[in-house]
């Protein structure tokens, strides 16, 4: 078994997804099969492979460019106050 219930729930919480009890079984089944299929890569010998990522050819010059107004950028936000975006209090959440 590649993925069990605990791992599924752990991964789901990392991705901020909720898995309902009804979804859990079928999802586990699907993921197990998909991961089982892709796990065949372990038999491919990649010891001689050298990564060849290209490099950036030019960087952006440090000159201000036109952005969006607050309305354009955040007009669809569910909650705003005095120009700020409002969310539930996150004290005790992730670090800054």
């Amino acid at each position: 078994m590649i993925i069990d219930k605990e791992t599924l729930q752990h991964v789901a919480s990392l991705a901020r997804l909720e898995i309902t009890p009804e979804e859990e079984g079928p999802l586990l089944g699907d993921l197990e099969r998909i991961l089982g299929h892709v796990a065949q890569l372990s038999s491919v010998d990649t010891s001689a492979v050298i990564s060849k990522r290209p490099a950036m050819t030019e960087l952006r010059s440090d000159e201000p460019s036109e952005g969006l107004t607050r309305e354009e950028g955040l007009g669809g936000a569910p909650a705003m106050r005095d120009g700020f975006v409002v969310v539930r209090n996150v004290m005790g959440g992730e670090d800054e």
Partner: protein, 473 residues
């Protein structure tokens, strides 16, 4: 007006410039077709025909696209229009800016009649994963148009647009083009800007043209291919006129057949079409060569690790804080989960979970790192193969369009991408062009791939075979 309506971009442009037809008149014809046909095909998620009419009135016949209707897949941003990505999480989202490619098309005289349907966030091969409704293949409405750009290919096939743009991450322009009997081109990665394309698999995604003929695809590429400073993966290339570069023959070209793909199960009519293509190639002066890609069958598993990994990060921004669907919870964590749960469909969730899994501590090396190494291996093999062949010829898909609802197993759906995925992994240009029909009258598509930056050659070679095998149907 001439005897029949223009059926290709090329014909349309000619007619408009010869004052036989105006953009407004053509748009009106198109509007009628959409009105009559789209309730069945359901290619569009949103229409903007009123706005398109004023655009058409202002169209300049001397511009490259001369007011031609070009549909845009609904994961590509167009300012002032909704951009749902086929998802509930963006159901009411209105784009505040336009993708670079959309800006280029508009500046070149394109008129956008509407945004087309897709599998949610471009994840799928049938457009059945759209959160709103499936699109129906215009050739046979009981069947899928393919995906994820099914709305765009259906629109072009049904005459609702003279061309369209879609996105291709694992075959999402080519496969639906094959199913609908139109041309779908995936350019070299970095040739066309991705700025404004809602990201799915960032290192794989390409925007590509969908048209009735290969020449039309070249016409659109002349507008779409440009370096974009807003996209750091966009590459500056010497200017090419893709239309002028179309050659009439394959004289001196080496057409490669991939050994390791020969054993795959393929619908008999598709195998027959491959044979006809080989003969046509030889007749046109090409030689057939046998090439080996020892690890080509590892492309699919590598893709289904890399694409989900990238998408799991790319879809993190859909959290209901700044835009999109928002469902409240007791605290922030619950708000995130409820929003994303309500907003994402099953396939999207599946891929995000796979992606988060293969990147997580303890699994990264065995899955993600391994997959990127395999990707490099396959890329190296393709590059080597494309030294002894100028283009590689394969079917686009193992089967023709299947029935809506027929394929429910996700893994089975993934396996249909076996021919298209390698080009995305390697970032090389690939095109699907129509090559006849099967016994049930369903379109067959064949694929040509070429070396990186040989887009003009791939279009040229495809044009020869496309013409030889019947051309625009």
């Amino acid at each position: 007006m001439s005897s029949g309506l223009p059926r290709t971009l090329e014909q349309y442009r000619h007619a408009v410039r010869a004052h036989e037809l105006s953009a407004e008149e053509y748009l009106e014809e198109t509007r009628q077709l959409i009105k009559r046909g789209d309730p069945q095909v359901r290619a569009f998620l949103h229409l903007r025909l009123e706005a398109a009419r004023s655009d058409a009135q202002a169209a300049d016949p001397s511009s490259p696209l001369a007011g031609a209707p070009i549909a845009v897949k609904d994961n590509i941003m167009m300012a002032g229009e909704r951009c749902t990505c086929g998802s509930r999480i963006l159901e009411h989202y209105v784009a505040p800016y336009s993708a670079t490619v959309v800006q280029s098309l508009l500046a070149a005289g394109a008129i956008v009649p509407g945004k087309t349907n897709l599998d949610e966030f471009a994840m799928g091969s049938s457009t059945e994963n759209s959160a709103f409704f499936p699109t129906h293949n215009p050739v046979d409405p009981a069947r899928v148009p393919g995906g994820s750009s099914g709305g765009s290919t259906a629109a072009v096939a049904a005459g609702f647009a003279l061309g369209a743009i879609g996105s291709d991450t694992g075959g999402s322009v080519r496969q639906p083009a094959a199913f609908c009997g139109v041309v779908g081109f995936k350019p070299t990665y970095g040739l066309v800007s991705r700025y404004g394309l809602v990201a799915f698999g960032s290192s794989l995604d390409c925007i590509g043209p969908i048209t009735r003929s290969v020449r039309d695809a070249a016409i659109m590429m002349n507008v779409m291919a440009a370096h974009d400073p807003k996209d750091a993966t966009s590459v500056k290339r010497p200017h090419v006129d893709f239309e002028a570069a179309l050659q009439p023959t394959l004289a001196g070209k080496r057409v490669g057949i991939i050994r390791e793909l020969q054993g795959l199960d393929v619908q008999p009519e598709i195998a027959a079409a491959m044979e006809m293509a080989r003969e046509a190639a030889v007749k046109s002066g090409a030689s057939i060569v046998d090439v080996s890609l020892p690890h080509v069958l590892s492309a699919l598993p590598a893709y289904y690790i890399i694409a989900p990994a990238e998408c799991s990060a790319n879809l993190g921004r859909f959290d209901g804080v700044r835009y999109g669907l928002h469902v409240d919870g007791r605290d922030m964590t619950e708000t995130y989960s409820r929003t994303r749960n309500a907003g994402f469909g099953t396939e999207v969730k599946r891929r995000i979970l796979i992606g988060a899994f293969v990147l997580s501590a303890g699994y990264y090396d065995a899955y993600y790192k391994k997959a990127t190494d395999v990707r490099q291996l396959i890329t190296d093999e393709l590059d080597a193969a494309l030294q002894s062949a100028d283009v590689l010829l394969t079917p686009t898909t193992p089967t023709t369009a299947f029935r809506i609802g027929a394929v429910t197993d996700p893994l089975e759906m993934y396996k249909a991408d076996v021919f298209t995925i390698p080009a995305n992994l390697a970032g090389i240009p690939a095109i699907s062009f129509p090559a006849g029909k099967d016994a049930a009258g369903l379109p067959i598509g064949l694929q040509l791939m070429g070396p990186r930056w040989s887009d003009a050659d791939v279009l040229s070679s495809a044009n020869v075979l496309f013409t030889a095998l019947g051309g625009e149907s």
